[in-house]
């Protein structure tokens, strides 16, 4: 195998090929049933990316945490809490409020995992539940303001030169994440800590700060996604983040990031998000009933991971 791919790039190539396969299959279907190929139109693809940007931003943050070998299960209600608090404050302070909520939740998660040494799966699940309680309490006695501010509407729905602003926000977040991961000591320390925390610590890396930093980024991403989603649906509401947790984890893992940490490239996560968004969309174009969609969606994720595992074994 002269052209053998590194273990890190193989999942990226496979998932890219799968994205192409989805587009071909979907187009073949529409050509056969309606004689048109809407899947290949620029308008359709931009619209998919626009709705995919919420998931994409969540997945970007989730990847930082997964690279450490941890997980952030508090994303759904971090997203919701940021959105609901932001709309309740309203006006110009809405966006800073959302980011402040994200920062606070991230610090709590990071300190709980890095300093109190509580497993992230438990701690972030607890934080998620507490946030849900807080949000229920907030809306219990009275109805706070929940409409999106003009800035949120602009970020989620407007277009600049024909490109949805949400895609630009996603691109900006991606650029920041890629720069952190490849060009900063903090980013390399995330890989080192995720690869083997003890060796990283003994190399003089301040591993606890690295862990806190990654959780803060994850929560900040969730709060940005919350702001966009509020703008997209014109208001914030309870449970708005529920649909994002598992797809975000799936996108990161489909993109080749090792679930136990230490390995993975951001471009993989991007492709993982696109794959999930297109798969959902094509299945709904095919008017597949919900049950069938769920089955296919789950089967695809599991079988792609099987393919990755098998390939890695052969190459090693």
């Amino acid at each position: 195998m002269q052209l053998s791919l590194s273990a890190e790039n193989k999942p990226i190539v496979i998932s890219s090929l799968f994205v192409v396969a989805i587009l071909i299959a979907g187009t073949a279907y529409t050509l056969w049933t309606a004689g048109t190929a809407p899947l290949l139109s620029v308008g359709y693809l931009l619209q998919q990316l626009q709705t995919g940007s919420f998931l994409g931003i969540c997945a970007a943050g989730m990847m930082m945490v997964i690279l450490l070998g941890h997980i952030d299960l508090s994303i759904p209600w971090t997203l919701t809490a940021a959105a609901m608090t932001a709309t309740a404050v309203g006006g110009d302070m809405a966006l800073p409020t959302a980011l402040a909520v994200g920062l606070a939740v991230g610090l709590v998660n990071g300190i709980g995992v890095a300093y109190l040494r509580i497993p992230s799966m438990i701690f972030t699940l607890g934080v998620d539940t507490v946030l849900r309680g807080l949000m229920v309490a907030q809306t219990g006695g009275f109805a706070p303001q929940d409409t999106a501010t003009p800035l949120m509407l602009f970020l989620a729905k407007d277009r600049i030169l024909g490109i949805p602003v949400a895609i630009l926000v996603w691109a900006a977040v991606s650029l920041v994440i890629v720069t952190i991961l490849t060009r900063t000591g903090f980013g390399r320390s995330i890989y080192a800590t995720g690869s083997r925390e003890g060796a990283a610590y003994l190399s003089g890396i301040r591993t606890r700060r690295v862990i806190v930093g990654a959780f803060v980024i994850s929560s900040l991403c969730a709060s940005i996604a919350g702001v966009l989603l509020t703008g997209y649906s014109a208001k914030a509401y309870q449970g708005m983040g529920n649909a994002f947790l598992l797809p975000a984890i799936a996108a990161v893992v489909l993109g080749g990031t090792h679930i136990l940490g230490g390995k993975g490239r951001y471009v993989g996560t991007l492709i993982g998000v696109i794959l999930i968004v297109l798969l959902n969309s094509v299945l709904s174009i095919m008017q597949m009933p919900e049950a069938g969609r769920q089955i296919i969606y789950g089967t695809v994720i599991v079988s792609m991971l099987l393919v990755y595992g098998r390939n890695q074994r052969v190459t090693s």
Partner: protein, 511 residues
Amino acid sequence: MQATSDTPIVEYQGISRYFAGIRALEGVHFACRPGSIHGILGENGAGKSTLIKIMSGVLQPDAGTMRLAGRTVNFATPKAANAAGIVCMFQELSLVPDLSVADNISISDPPRRFGLIDRRAQVRRAEELLAAVRCEEIDPRALVRELSLSRRQMVEIAKALGRKPKVLILDEATSALTSRDVETVYGLLKDLKAKGVASLFISHRMHEVDALCDTLSVFRNGRHIETFAKGDKSEREIVRLMIGRDVEAQFPPKPSRKPDAKTAEPLLGVRSLSWGKRLNGVDLDVGRGEIVGLGGLDGQGQKELLLALFGVLRDVDGDVTVGGRSGIPSSPAAASSAATRMALVPEDRKTEGLMLGMSIADNLLAASYGRISKGPFLDMAAARREISDGLAKLQIKIGDAADPVMTLSGGNQQKVVIAKWLMIDPDIILLNDPTRGIDVGTKQEIYRLMRDLANEGKAILFYSSDYAELIGCCDRVSVLYGGRVVSEQEGSEITEESLVAASLNIGTEAA
């Protein structure tokens, strides 16, 4: 003992094995007779481990045949090899840390009663086997994770004995043992020899091979070079066979002048350092240009001392002065970035020294992110320069710095750990048994490097479980016993006898 003692118990003909096209073993002919202790020598990467993995069924050969007592065999799994009487103790310990000693010893075939594991019989069996290796003090109910590395290794030996081997393979089995245990293992191997068991003994310590083996085989670059009876060749000739070239003196010469440690302030001063029950008031000074050795039996607090100095342990009492400032570093990060920088080469390079899954470049840079950043961003040009400097300085042989560090041989891996620390230009270097499980050639390079660093004015604190290293490398040796320094020796006072006596805390002032 048996009539078959002339036919080899194990015989290889033309065994070859390749990994991704790279030769690990090629055309190896090798035979081993029952009732012999057969030493296998060779540098890391010579193919010893592959040879043994094939023998014990972990790997299958790509070509060639293997005979066991005259019968052609082909082991598909380690279990099959075990059933045929081939028992192997691997270099990487194969014990499960969260199970008890007794569970581990009987892990593959526990005594059963009504289909369930008979705990009492299992403990009894463990007690018998531990007694056979003279480790009665190990509680069979204790968890393996609570034992020190040397105790674990003895448990490993007990476990191997429990499988009633016909061929016993010891891969670096003594590298972590104390000298008393080494004696026990020697005795055991001689008993087994009398019973007609063939032992294959792999060690990087020449004097052990010399003391124990009756036959020696040398491997180099995946080929079997020569097999001969012990005594046929001098140590020098053997080393030449192993590395394929002549070697100079094993240890670099020590500077004849005394470093001015007495006039100058020591770079590292330690006074009555205590930590829990493991350190009980250690006093120690290391000056610039000095290599100070830590001697003593295994588990007398040497490792804890190094970890405490590097800021790893919590609740350490005592006074530590680093470059004139007093105070124990609060973390490895603080220790390695203070005005007087410290570096620690840890005990286990695979779990503590390296991020095995990451590239060579990433491992080299792991301690230097702060130094090669401009603002928050890494200076990529500086990073590349540092990497090539580090590789050149230690003569690390690699294909590409982007390759995973686990593709390197053990010696080169350890060099990566050292190079990583040299990048921060440390003033004090703490070394925890840096030559364990490393080939002769690399060991000598490390000795020379230590002396060069000392001559540049660095202070080096060096723990080794090998007395010859302490004698050959150190300007002074502090022997620890029960968590405190019981003897300090200097220059020509350092001899094997004096170190052993001090280690056992005899012939010195009462503790």
